[in-house]
């Protein structure tokens, strides 16, 4: 460890005391990557602040010394959002985990960034309200991280993604100033600064407090399974359901490949010979739910669904969701390594993109299985391979690139919810024009003038060598 790092660590210890500053090699190794494991870099120091004032003091110190710094939550990012590209100080926000206020009358809660998504909902149990965005990693990921990536989840089809549920943030700016944007009430005049910060992937400031919207629990819920002989029929049914003016709370697809793994893990009784199933949920006022459910069943049947099953009770519903949410974990049963892609296409292009994915898989001789948020066109093709075979890895890289390029050609995006992080930097200039990137860069430079906050993330840096391709790996659940 060099001299300046030692001094920096000592100064941080003066701020935080000895226990919340980590600088031994082994302690830092654990922070060298998040759930995206193909790029690794140790921070010089990791710190665990407990208050906004501490975060601001750390940031000011980093500015004084010209050291890069990067915030991190639970480290579940699939795109390397929590990885310190430029080394420096990692600001770990997991000790800021209090739910500071729950205000049911005004329907908001104030939380610290390290609150685990599901813990907020546990806290709200019994109140009749919940926090709607439900990424599949909600059992571990933090609200701060959700805000950074503008996280989605199965139920965001109807309820909207994170940005629709963040009313305000307290922010430590890149220079260490504390500001509040928005607050308990919705819709302040002027540019939407909260909306700018949410999805900024930690490059525009460090969120230290979040005002989140609380959503009333639906009175009733109906969950069903549509079982299809062909993927085509299933994807056509998705378009038809939304086209009929029904917005399900969630609309998820799993294909045969993933069904086999899920069935082995959870024994739900999925038919293993079906090519695809749709997991569909409608919720809202009890009145009319049965009619909606029946209408969806009818549409499924009109698209050659072999069978439509209704979840009999709450327990069966939970089991179905467990199968879906933990599907990625079950992939370990199919192959030693896998790579999850995250792309978006307009819904009506789903049949096309899935056909293309199949063709691309065949062309590169890579097995690809699918489980994804069908309702909003957010696909997650999973490429199966063995990382010990370099040649297979190459084919996976080529196939991934082709799939994402196809998403762009369809008018879609290379990420739906995982974020750009550092994984998809190289796609930014394929997705956006130079003018677009220039405007985004100027926004970032205005809020992060020294460039010390989260360098090397989200926007390609001129002159720096971006990563040439997307790397596959043993990726984790979405």
């Amino acid at each position: 460890m060099d001299r300046s790092t030692l001094e920096l660590a000592d100064e941080l210890r003066r701020l935080l005391g000895p226990k919340r500053v980590l600088d031994s090699r082994s302690d830092l190794a654990v922070y060298e990557c998040d759930a995206f494991v193909l790029e690794k870099n140790c921070p010089s120091v990791a710190v665990l602040p407990e208050s906004t004032a501490e975060v601001a003091a750390i940031v000011r110190l980093c500015n004084e010394r010209g050291v890069a710094f990067v915030p991190r939550g639970a480290g579940t990012s699939l795109s390397g959002g929590g990885m310190p590209v430029g080394g420096g100080v990692m600001i770990v926000l997991t000790r800021m985990r209090e739910v500071l206020e729950v205000n049911l009358r005004d329907r908001y809660a104030v939380v610290e960034p390290g609150v685990v998504n599901v813990n907020l909902n546990k806290r709200l149990a019994g109140t009749g309200f919940h926090y709607a965005p439900d990424p599949s990693s909600q059992g571990a990921c933090t609200i701060g991280g959700n805000a950074a990536t503008n996280a989605g989840g199965p139920h965001t089809l109807k309820y909207g993604v994170t940005v629709n549920h963040v009313l305000g943030v307290e922010l430590v700016t890149a220079e260490g100033e504390v500001v509040q944007l928005g607050g308990p009430i919705d819709g302040s005049p002027g540019p939407d600064l909260v909306g700018t910060i949410v999805g900024g992937e930690g490059t525009l400031g460090i969120v230290t407090k979040v005002w989140v919207r609380l959503t009333r629990n639906p009175q009733g819920v109906r969950t069903m399974l549509g079982i299809f002989e062909s993927v085509d029929d299933a994807t056509q049914a998705i378009s038809a359901i939304i086209g009929a003016g029904i917005i399900p709370a969630a609309l998820e697809m799993m294909d045969q490949g993933i069904l086999v793994a899920v069935e082995e893990a959870f024994h739900f009784g999925f038919p293993l010979d079906a090519e695809a199933i749709l997991l569909i949920e409608v919720d809202g006022l009890e009145v009319g739910l049965d009619a909606q459910r029946d209408r969806i069943a009818e549409i499924c049947r009109a698209h050659q669904a072999r069978e439509v099953r209704f979840a009999a009770d709450a327990k069966e519903r939970l089991q179905l969701w467990k199968c879906r949410k933990q599907a990625f974990g079950a992939i370990g049963r199919l192959s030693p390594s896998y790579c999850t892609q995250d792309g978006v296409v307009p819904r009506s292009k789903l049949p096309h993109i899935l056909q293309r994915i199949r063709a691309i898989g065949k062309k590169h001789d890579i097995r690809i299985v699918n489980v994804f948020h069908a309702g909003d066109g957010n696909i997650h093709p999973i490429l199966l391979f063995d990382e010990r075979h370099a040649e297979q890895v190459k084919r996976v890289l080529a196939a991934s690139d082709e799939i994402l390029t196809e998403c762009l050609a369809c008018g879609g995006s290379v990420t739906g919810e995982h974020g750009i992080g550092l994984e998809k930097l190289s796609f930014m200039n394929r997705m956006f024009s130079n003018d677009d990137l220039d405007v985004m860069g100027r926004l970032r430079d205005a809020l992060n003038p020294g460039g010390l906050l989260s360098p090397g993330k989200l926007l390609p840096t001129a002159g720096a060598c971006g990563m040439e391709q997307i790397h596959p790996g043993r990726h984790a659940p979405v």
Binding site: L6, S24, R25, A35, A330
Partner: protein, 440 residues
């Protein structure tokens, strides 16, 4: 602190691990929030993913087994909540347990036979008779009120730390019940023939629970055999890194219970139960298949009764209660519904959900003696959650949890009764109205 090579004391324990098990971890991080030590510290070094990363780093030779690494691995409760959370099926217990044993054995600089391990952990705890005898002075102090005075004056603080913790955990005295006979016949039509494992600490401190268990089984048509030559399950030794004695105890139990004779080998302590169920995969010698066959007969009594179909209890138990999941029942044995279903049968009993019930109470075998700080943080958190339910009765199916929760409640002046599900069933079957023995 920067690492220097001279504080790397031990040989690399990595080779004892099945390397493939390390590779099962895809580094997704979904385990982190389930981990009690991470929930407390927020440091990924104190999370399952972090610990696996450290073990892999040491195994690969990238990291030395420094005091720092060691302390993160030692702080693990081995509660295995991470296994429940992990979607990839990582067998964390099969990583941390052998690694810690090897870590301990390889470290020549550590005092191997310190007095506490030699005399208390290995010399006293596993032997119910010695333990009952050793507790006599403390029991007398308790009955005469001397212990309460000593506690009030904080005189117990003069004892060496682990002993003090043990005295602090001593439960209130119960009516002195005799040892269980070798055989207790089924009442009514015989539905099963079972053997009862009585445990070491269990038999010394929780004999009333063993009696309750036996009576409940009899009431449910079970012939109950209590083999007299049975021994401690060996979990205390195994988890403290003493492999050989654990192995010997396992084989003593193998000889004491003939699996052919019984429909099931039952136990009522979650920690013992998971050890007994694991006999088949800890040691690999010619006896391994026999141990595996034996282990296949082991059931927790809640699990067994729930499967057998319990007789409906009729006696009313008026109480607001909450059920705390012992880690070794919920995470190690994956038993969640059975005790709840049994308790739901009891008329009058209102069972309230315990927030964070899946989080360890800090007992974790002998963890509360070896890692008192983290243990206390977790037990305080547990009591806080119990307080939230407003229950006055805490029901749990593990001796360690019961002692830990009772100790913390006593320290906080919280009036709680801590009982085993079989006690509740027993009272209900017998139509006894419990006089809740509040522990404070």
């Amino acid at each position: 602190m920067p690492e220097s090579l001279d504080n790397v004391k031990a040989a690399n324990p990595g080779p004892v691990l099945d390397y493939e098990l390390l590779l099962d971890c895809v580094h997704c991080g979904l385990c982190t929030s389930a981990c009690p030590t991470y929930a407390e510290t927020g440091d990924e070094n104190e999370s399952p993913r972090g610990r696996i990363y450290l073990m892999r780093g040491v195994t690969d030779g990238k990291l030395g087994l420094t005091d720092r690494v060691r302390s993160h691995l030692e702080l693990c409760l081995d509660c295995r909540a991470c296994e429940t959370a992990c979607p990839s099926g990582v067998q964390y217990g099969k990583l941390i347990e052998p690694f810690r044993i090897a870590m301990d054995q390889a470290d020549a600089s550590r005092p191997r036979g310190d007095w506490f391990r030699r005399y208390i952990l290995f010399g006293l705890l596993p032997y119910p008779k010695r333990l009952r005898w050793a507790l006599t002075p403390a029991r007398i102090a308790q009955r005469t009120g001397a212990l309460a005075v000593a506690r009030a004056l904080r005189l117990t603080r003069l004892l060496p730390s682990p002993l003090r913790r043990m005295v602090e955990m001593l439960p209130s005295p119960r009516r002195n019940e005799g040892a269980l006979p070798e055989f207790l016949p089924a009442i009514g039509k015989r539905r099963a023939t079972v053997a009862l494992f009585t445990g070491c600490v269990g038999d010394a401190m929780f004999r009333h629970v063993n009696w309750a268990t036996a009576r409940v089984l009899q009431h449910n048509g079970c012939d109950v055999h209590v083999p007299p030559t049975q021994a401690c399950c060996g979990a205390i030794h195994f988890h403290a890194g003493a492999n050989e004695p654990a192995w010997q105890l396992a084989d003593t139990n193998l000889a004491a219970f003939d699996p052919q004779r019984f429909d099931a080998i039952l136990n009522n302590i979650a920690g013992c139960g998971s050890m007994l169920k694991e006999y088949g995969h800890h040691w690999h010698d010619s006896q391994q298949p026999a141990r595996a066959a034996w282990a296949a007969k082991v059931r927790d009594v809640n699990e067994f009764l729930d499967q057998l179909g319990p007789e409906r209890p009729c006696g009313e138990i008026r109480a607001v209660a909450t059920y705390h999941d012992p880690c070794h029942l919920l995470h190690a044995q994956k038993i969640h519904d059975a005790p709840r279903r049994l308790l739901a049968l009891v008329p009058g009993l209102e069972l309230r959900d315990l927030p964070e019930t899946e989080l360890c109470c800090g007992a974790a075998g002998t963890y509360n003696l070896m890692q008192p700080d983290m243990s206390s943080r977790l037990s305080r958190r547990k009591i806080e959650n119990i307080r939230h339910t407003q229950a006055r009765v805490v029901i749990t199916a593990n001796a360690g949890c019961a002692l830990q929760i009772a100790r913390e409640a006593r320290e906080q002046g919280e009036r709680l009764a801590v009982v085993h599900p079989m006690e509740i069933l027993d009272w209900s079957y017998r139509g006894i109205t419990p006089r809740w023995q509040s522990i404070s």
